[in-house]
Point group: C2
Chain length 159, copies 2
């Protein structure tokens, strides 16, 4: 294993560890519990779940893999706050999408050539990337791992 | 900048970004707000602050830099749950320690030779490290960044 392979493995192992921790946390919550707020007048658990599915879905184009799979989720769970929509997908559907989107990302992760992790992500131009090579695809995974962990700290309050 | 330097920079920049985000969040909370629970019957903000100071202090020996600076914090904020002790340090002191411990870590981070980041941390033996080279000092920073972000997601509920 060369240095780059080793770095990528460190980051992806950490990502997968946080995905697993979130899946375990979700498994301990009933659909009814997900309808509760994490704290008075704060987001409901189901909103956080939908938010994470939508943000992970958006990683597909951000990492230049493919288009989003669930385009209907972004208006509800990214562009709008909780309770802006009267009707949202049920927990059962969102749980299945949570598993499916992470599986799909993992398949892409495992087939991307190692050197390509250090190429630009979709939201940075070639010019800007030349100045800031840190804005690569691997850094997207680092940032989204933090995002996931941030919200897991909140979801855990429902147990 | 070689591959190792670049990778270490990616990880340390992410750490520092999360430290800054937490410092900003703390700056928006009064000492009185820190005495509130993040959610009914959950940890108080001040416990989370003390917990983070103590855990970051423990990174000093874990990263094989030096002994802990605040040995009195660990029994209160790591070994025991919130409210186990009647008397705990005031928010003013913990805020100063939060800044000081992160500054101290940063000084060590900036002087550690790059190759040494890929050597074992204190809680892994030479034998186990030979089998699992991922258990290096840099991985401690990756893990503690997640830990910090997890609790920032909770502390933010006090605002």
């Amino acid at each position: 294993m060369n240095d780059q392979q080793f770095f990528v493995k460190m980051i992806l192992d950490n990502w997968q560890g946080q995905i697993n921790a979130m899946s375990i946390a979700l498994g301990k919550l009933s659909d009814e519990q997900l309808m509760n707020e994490i704290s008075p007048e704060r987001n409901r658990g189901i909103y956080l779940l939908g938010h994470l599915v939508a943000v992970h879905d958006l990683m597909l184009p951000l990492l230049r893999f493919e288009e989003v799979v669930y385009p209907d989720l972004q208006p509800i769970f990214v562009d709008a706050p909780d309770r802006a929509f009267e009707s949202i997908p049920p927990a059962e559907i969102l749980r299945a999408q949570w598993s499916a989107i992470n599986e799909r990302l993992l398949t892409h992760f495992n087939t991307l050539p190692i050197a390509d992790w250090f190429t630009r992500h979709a939201n940075v131009s070639d010019e800007d990337f030349a100045k800031e090579p840190k804005r690569n695809r691997l850094n997207v995974v680092i940032g989204r791992t933090s995002h996931l962990t941030y919200h897991r700290g909140q979801l855990i309050l429902l147990t």
